[in-house]
């Protein structure tokens, strides 16, 4: 069975989703989903371990060899992403049962878990596959379920937010599909590995150039790169809290994965960074994203909105790392991808706990919460410190590598701007700290208690991971280093 792990990674959650319909009680469905997600996590751990010791794993679906059939190709990069997605999903799901009690009507709970598992399977499928069209199919699964999940939010505005996301997401997906169609037309293959070998022959044609441009724009819509980020804040703010935590930590990461996969593996480094002025474009967009979104975050009244804008800013950091296009730069991007997943899932889960106790996450409602929900607020503070990039948290590690990469390239002004951007993060995190710890509790809020254990356990697991991986960086550095090196074609394949 060990040889079938790549496919099991995806089909276990995918086939578990329809099975949920046969279970009658929501609690049972939750337990089932939790076990399935845990199983996926276990599989991804073994896969990562296998890939790190013996290189990329290839799995031919239906027994047809590529490029005739579809193949799964798990390399260091995809194994790393699989681990992040399934780990976050499992931890977040732990709190789901309690959280959705107050946010989603009981008769929708089963459907909620079905869509959740489908979304998980979709994202895992995007990362695991080595076939360009298969990417699109799984992109549809994960996006459709994400739209529905967001629309399940308690607030009526969730519908509008989901609709906006649906339109933007569909445009993005269509662009990706057009791009894939065009490269298929020029090469006659859909397999990524095969594409990377056959594209150089036709690299000079305008059609391939157009395909590349369409894929890049489509992916950037999906990853909410400034200025294509407009769908994100509302979608995150009005979605059910659990979904915010899940999507914030995974969905944009998968899009970044696609960006890396298409530019580095499919089109190849020399094509990607010479035909379009990608480097300068992404540095400028990344940096303006950092500043615009961080500034916007400072003025938000809804804390979910605040952290959503901060997510856009963090994507900016990842894009800056990507645009450096050196091994260190890519490492910084991958590290930040991992670290940001840890921070944002912790932060949004803590917000879910606040939502559970108070019923809202307006900044004004946070007054005095430092004393009423000490553990939850402490988690937000540590998550916030990590977001700023304070030493001993994961945020520091990735910023460190990012600045290292930028300076290596001699881009001093960019390094200064990155540091300035972190100062903005100090401001918005401080606003929460100030309200929670230094303002008296609101009248009539004496009855607010600490969040229940089903929240505290996953939140603190994530918070401790935030600190642990900030101190012991062996695992994350080793994996990202090998992944980045293999993308640049040096070191073990």
């Amino acid at each position: 069975m060990l040889a079938h792990l790549p496919i099991l990674q995806v089909i276990v959650p995918m086939m578990a989703a329809p099975l949920c319909l046969f279970l009658t009680r929501p609690r049972l469905v939750w337990l089932f989903a939790l076990i399935v997600s845990g199983l996926a996590f276990l599989i991804s751990c073994i896969l990562l371990q296998q890939v790190m010791t013996s290189g990329a794993i290839i799995y031919e679906l239906g027994g047809w060899d590529a490029p005739w059939g579809i193949e799964y190709r798990i390399d260091q990069l995809s194994a790393f992403l699989l681990l992040i997605i399934s780990a976050v999903s499992t931890v977040v799901l732990f709190a789901a049962h309690t959280s959705i009690q107050k946010e989603i009507p009981v008769d929708r709970h089963t459907l909620f878990y079905i869509l959740y598992l489908l979304s998980l399977a979709g994202m895992l499928g995007i990362v695991a596959t080595g076939d360009a069209f298969n990417v699109f199919v799984f992109l549809e699964i994960s996006s459709l379920s994400a739209y529905a999940l967001i629309a399940l939010g308690k607030d009526r505005r969730a519908l509008w937010a989901a609709y906006q996301y649906l339109i933007m997401g569909t445009i993005g997906a269509t662009f990706i599909l057009i791009g894939i169609g065009l490269i298929y037309q020029m090469t006659g293959t859909l397999n990524m590995n095969d594409l990377s070998m056959r594209l150089p022959e036709v690299a000079h044609t305008r059609t391939v150039f157009t395909a590349f441009a369409f894929i890049i724009v489509g992916v950037c819509l999906k990853l909410a790169l400034f200025p294509l980020h407009l769908w994100l804040p509302n979608a995150y703010a009005y979605a059910p809290s659990i979904i915010t935590a899940f999507l914030a930590a995974t969905a944009t990461k998968v899009a970044i994965y696609l960006l890396i996969r298409f530019t580095f593996s499919v089109f190849g480094l020399s094509f990607s960074f010479t035909t379009l002025p990608l480097q300068i474009l992404f540095v400028v967009l990344g940096l303006s994203g950092i500043f615009a979104a961080s500034t916007a975050a400072i003025y938000q009244k809804n804390v979910k909105h605040l952290f959503a804008y901060s997510s856009i800013a963090q994507i900016g950091y990842m894009i800056v790392g990507f645009s450096v296009s050196t091994t260190t730069g890519l490492m910084a991007t991958l590290l930040h991808l991992f670290n940001h997943a840890l921070m944002k899932s912790a932060l949004f889960l803590a917000l879910a706990a606040v939502m559970y106790r108070i019923g809202g996450v307006q900044l004004s409602q946070f007054q005095g919460l430092g004393r009423q929900m000490p553990l939850t607020m402490a988690a937000i503070v540590i998550g916030g410190l990590s977001l700023i990039g304070v030493p001993l948290t994961v945020g520091f590690v990735s910023k460190w590598y990012l600045i290292l990469a930028v300076i290596e390239n001699g881009w001093w002004p960019v390094a200064v701007l990155i540091l300035l951007g972190s100062l903005l993060a100090v401001v918005y995190v401080w606003r929460i700290v100030e309200t929670a710890y230094f303002k008296p509790p609101l009248a009539g809020s004496e009855a607010i208690k600490e969040a229940p254990l089903s929240f505290l356990v996953p939140i603190w697991v994530l918070v401790i991971a935030n600190i642990y991986f900030g101190i012991d960086t062996r695992l994350s550095i080793q994996v990202t280093q090998v992944a980045a090196q293999s993308l640049f074609g040096v070191g073990p394949p």
Binding site: M14, P18, G69, I70, N134, A151, R206
Partner: protein, 324 residues
């Protein structure tokens, strides 16, 4: 093209839906002209058929005419024109349509054309690509449809007390009673539609067709019945929670074919594991997964229709923001 512009300019949504049906039919004829009969069949049954139907049902909830919009989206139009222009300009040097030297005809396709008969034993090459060489994509598509159905259920399903349900249904039914001719013609047609669906389902190996089209046609028959004989009669035939299980069973059937090949030591969806003779195994596998596709597609279409129709004449929701 003319129809697309008319769709954009038109204010009467009913006409827009009819035009989009024609648009679907025209694109289907384009596909026939390009010798892509399977695609044409799908476009005809989905684009011109079921989606028109579903849009009509949605129309009964939202009202017939578009709200006048004051702002003029000039900027958006400019962006669209520039993007479209770039796309055309950028693809000027692509291979000519039907050119024998085009890369798509030289790389992967020859094996599909020359060897699929020996390897899979199904005359319809499109079916062997969809259902065997790239079966996992098709599995993904089925899950996409399942996801869509679950999404509709999650957002639209309203749990009502039986007496309330009966009231709504009787209101609905009273609207249909005068259509006597329609009813009789429908009654005569439905068995043939169902039979045709089954033919398309099981003949997909030999001619154009397969699970997707068959599922849609099957669902169309049921929807037609529900439209003319009322929701309550239709509900007596098809139970909502029952059909949900059916949708799940379709996906599971497809998946379990894959799992069986896993258990037999072959890769996921390798049908040659299903039988001692690999070609017979391929045949059996394709038959089973097409059945899974058909079951899921039909059930999901019916679920979507029932949930759209079930929301009509609901006093709380009427005129609310369903339209947004």
């Amino acid at each position: 093209m003319g129809i697309a512009i008319a769709i954009v300019r038109m204010k009467d949504l009913f006409a827009v839906i009819m035009l989009s049906g024609i648009y679907g039919l025209l694109s289907a004829s384009f596909f026939v002209a390009m010798d892509a009969v399977d695609v044409a069949f799908t476009e005809a049954s989905v684009g011109a058929g079921i989606s028109t139907l579903l849009m009509l049902v949605a129309l009964t909830m939202t009202g017939r005419s578009e709200h006048p919009v004051r702002h003029k989206p000039v900027l958006a139009l400019a962006v669209v024109i520039v993007t479209g222009g770039l796309l055309i300009y950028g693809t000027l040097d692509m291979p000519y349509f039907g050119s024998a030297e085009a890369p798509i005809h030289l790389h992967v396709a020859p094996r599909y054309i020359n060897e699929s008969m020996q390897e899979i034993g199904v005359p319809n090459i499109v079916t062997s690509v969809l259902a065997s060489y790239r079966a996992f994509d098709t599995f993904g598509e089925v899950v996409v449809i399942f996801t869509a159905g679950m999404g509709v259920l999650a957002l639209l399903s309203v749990v009502r007390r039986p007496e309330e349900l009966a009231k709504i249904d009787s209101l609905n039914d009273s609207m249909h009673e005068q259509h006597l001719i329609l009813r009789i013609v429908t009654k005569m047609l439905i068995p043939f539609i169902l039979l045709f669906a089954l033919y398309v389902q099981f003949h997909g190996d030999y001619g154009p067709g397969g699970g997707f089209q068959a599922g849609v046609i099957f669902a169309a028959a049921i929807i037609l019945y529900a439209m003319l004989f009322g929701m309550s009669t239709a509900r007596r035939v098809i139970n909502q929670s029952f059909i949900q299980l059916f949708a799940a069973i379709g996906v599971l059937l497809y998946g379990s074919v894959g799992v069986i090949s896993l258990l037999k030591g072959k890769n996921f969806l390798d049908y040659s594991a299903l039988s001692a003779d690999p070609v017979a195994g391929q045949h059996l596998g394709i038959l089973l997964i097409e059945l899974g596709v058909g079951v899921t597609v039909a059930s999901i279409m019916v679920i979507i229709f029932f949930n759209f129709a079930g929301r009509r004449h609901n006093p709380q929701n009427k005129g609310n923001d369903d339209s947004c």
